[in-house]
């Protein structure tokens, strides 16, 4: 497989009055062409900072890239970190596109949805408005938005959260990027809407041979769409492997915690396992509530006198 993106020994620090914080600590990762790589970790683990640094969207100051390189092979190798502003502008949005967690805040509330996409198209391609509009309507169809003309003319507040994320995906796909960075794209959505968005992203990837960097705090979501995953904890990559391996045989206590803290349709636990539980004791296990115990509790609840003192 040919590599598309390589991050080597990247470290990023933030300076503030209170001192210097290292948000990303000598991480290295690579992404093959056509591959979907997941980055999983909690808020503050450095995963979004990593994504933003690829797009060169980190405000500096306070952010400072202390070391490392980000190589993008398309087709000649560029170090994104050392490109001049003009150079990165040609890549950003065109070669590498990004979608964010909050479709509500990523779209400008005072412009119609369609115009925000045509603007992105006209920024990178020499087309007339009519051509850009035709392309946008086609993209809206491709991301399965119902009634593309209506959505084109709608303001963001007039469409649902899932539809907004589809508009964002259409915008991201508008210049046929070779890499799509998705930063928690489904986190603010209902599980059912999340599923339709993940299905769509999987389809787009298969159709266009797109590579994807998919960031989430939820290993469940990662497992639905990614081939490989890196686990970030306190700015470092602590584990890396196939989705299968990370889910079934997580090695690092932190990864074990992330796998275990997700509730399941199949069982009820006496106590939800948490990440700190595993950091303290890597073999931590939480006891499953037995059917007999469940029935006992149900009986107690159905018999108010026994329980209720109010």
């Amino acid at each position: 497989m040919k590599k598309l993106l390589e991050i080597n020994n990247l470290s990023i620090e933030f300076n503030s009055d209170r001192g210097t914080t290292r948000a990303v600590d000598t991480i290295s990762l690579s992404l093959d062409k056509g591959e979907t790589l997941g980055i999983v970790g909690e808020s503050g683990s450095g995963k979004s900072v990593t994504a933003l640094s690829i797009m060169r969207l980190l405000p500096s100051p306070p952010a400072k890239i202390v070391s490392g390189e980000i190589l993008f092979h398309q087709p000649e190798t560029l170090n994104l970190l050392s490109l001049p502003e003009k150079g990165i502008e040609r890549i950003r949005g065109a070669e590498i596109a990004m979608i964010f967690q909050e479709p509500m805040t990523s779209l400008n509330p005072v412009f119609r949805c369609g115009h925000q996409v045509t603007e992105a198209i006209q920024l990178h391609q020499k087309t007339s408005f009519a051509e850009a509009k035709a392309l946008t309507l086609k993209l809206f169809e491709r991301v399965k938005l119902p009634d593309p003309t209506r959505i084109f003319n709608a303001y963001p507040h007039q469409i649902s959260g899932g539809q907004k994320q589809r508009v964002m995906i259409a915008m991201a796909m508008s210049c046929n990027p070779s890499l799509l960075i998705a930063d928690e794209p489904t986190t603010a959505l209902d599980v059912t809407v999340q599923k339709t968005i993940l299905d769509l992203m999987r389809e787009l990837k298969e159709e266009s041979g797109l590579s994807m960097l998919f960031i989430s705090h939820d290993l469940g979501v990662i497992s639905e769409i990614c081939d490989r995953v890196v686990v970030m904890f306190q700015g470092k990559i602590v584990e890396e492997g196939s989705v299968e391996k990370i889910l079934r045989q997580p090695e690092h206590p932190y990864t074990r915690g992330l796998v275990a803290c997700r509730p399941s349709l199949k069982r009820k636990l006496w106590r939800m396992p948490t990440v700190p539980d595993f950091l303290e004791n890597a073999q931590f296990e939480s006891r499953v509530v037995t059917p007999a115990e469940t029935q006992n509790r149900q009986k107690k609840a159905a018999n108010p006198g026994a329980h209720f003192t109010g």
Binding site: E42, S43, S160, G161, T187, A188, D190, V191, T192, V193, Q194, K195, L198, H217, D218, L219, G220, V221, S223, E224, L247, G257, L258, C261, R262, P263, S264, L265, K266, R267, K268, L269, R271, M272, P273, T274, V275, P291, T294, R297, Q298, K300, A301, A302, P304, H307, F308, T309, G310
Partner: protein, 232 residues
């Protein structure tokens, strides 16, 4: 919402599930009388809440508390979190004076896993999970019997979600609380709830024990909600 009927037993956790727009939030708000119902009755401990005057409802407004989804918009950014917990106690004239109320607020902060020295801080200094803990402390300030948790953990990281779920289970044990737990996520409902109601476009899709409903999901809608859980 149309013709929905169910009971909640004291001390139990009753789940309310469905997609956005299915009417679950409206239902929760109607019980707390934040929204008016067009028809039907809501009986709480033998009293029809809908029929009460605003004044007669006041004690129930204390007993029934709501915690909302968005920990960012449910706290006043200009008010210290300690004062935010003291305020409802002032309104409902709980405890003798403000000093006693402050002591109580500190105790509540500790109950939900925060610290006494957080009292003076402002919401922006806390993470999403910590803010939900603050909202819980504020709800507990009025010694409620019944807590409506409306998508309370949906905006949180899964790892933070686990800690808040544990807190809710601990508090139920400690105070004998009854929960109406609203969520679109059937795996979270499974962990938390004794019984559940699944709603679709304001109508009942399923009502019963999670183990029964999940084992044999008769309705397409229930299946769809189950299949949407990632990683299962």
């Amino acid at each position: 919402m149309n013709d929905v009927s169910f009971d909640i037993f004291p001390g139990e956790t009753f789940g309310l599930a469905g997609e956005s727009g299915c009417g679950k939030t409206t239902l929760g708000r109607t019980i707390a009388r934040l929204t008016e119902a067009h028809a039907g009755e809501i009986w709480y401990k033998g009293v029809d809440l809908q029929k009460l005057s605003e004044e007669a409802f006041l004690p129930y407004r204390r007993e029934i508390q709501v915690v909302f989804q968005d920990p960012y918009s449910s706290l006043n950014p200009r008010m210290g979190i300690g004062e935010a917990i003291v305020e409802p106690m002032q309104v409902h004239k709980f405890h003798e004076n403000d000093r006693a109320r402050r002591e109580k607020a500190i105790e509540l902060l500790e109950t939900v896993g925060l610290q006494a020295d957080h009292f003076q801080r402002y919401p922006h200094e806390f993470s999403g999970g910590q803010r939900q803990r603050i909202c819980v402390a504020r709800a507990l300030a009025l010694q409620p019997r019944f807590l409506i948790c409306d998508e309370m953990v949906s905006a949180l990281d899964v790892s933070v979600q686990a800690t808040v779920l544990n807190l809710l289970m601990d508090l139920q044990e400690k105070f004998g609380l009854t929960y109406l737990f609203i969520s679109h996520d059937l795996s979270v409902i499974k962990q938390m709830c004794d019984r559940l109601l699944i709603m679709n476009q304001g109508q009942t899709e399923a009502l019963g024990y999670p183990e029964d409903i999940y084992k044999n999901p008769e309705r397409e809608y229930v299946k769809r909600l189950m299949e949407a859980i990632p990683g299962e």
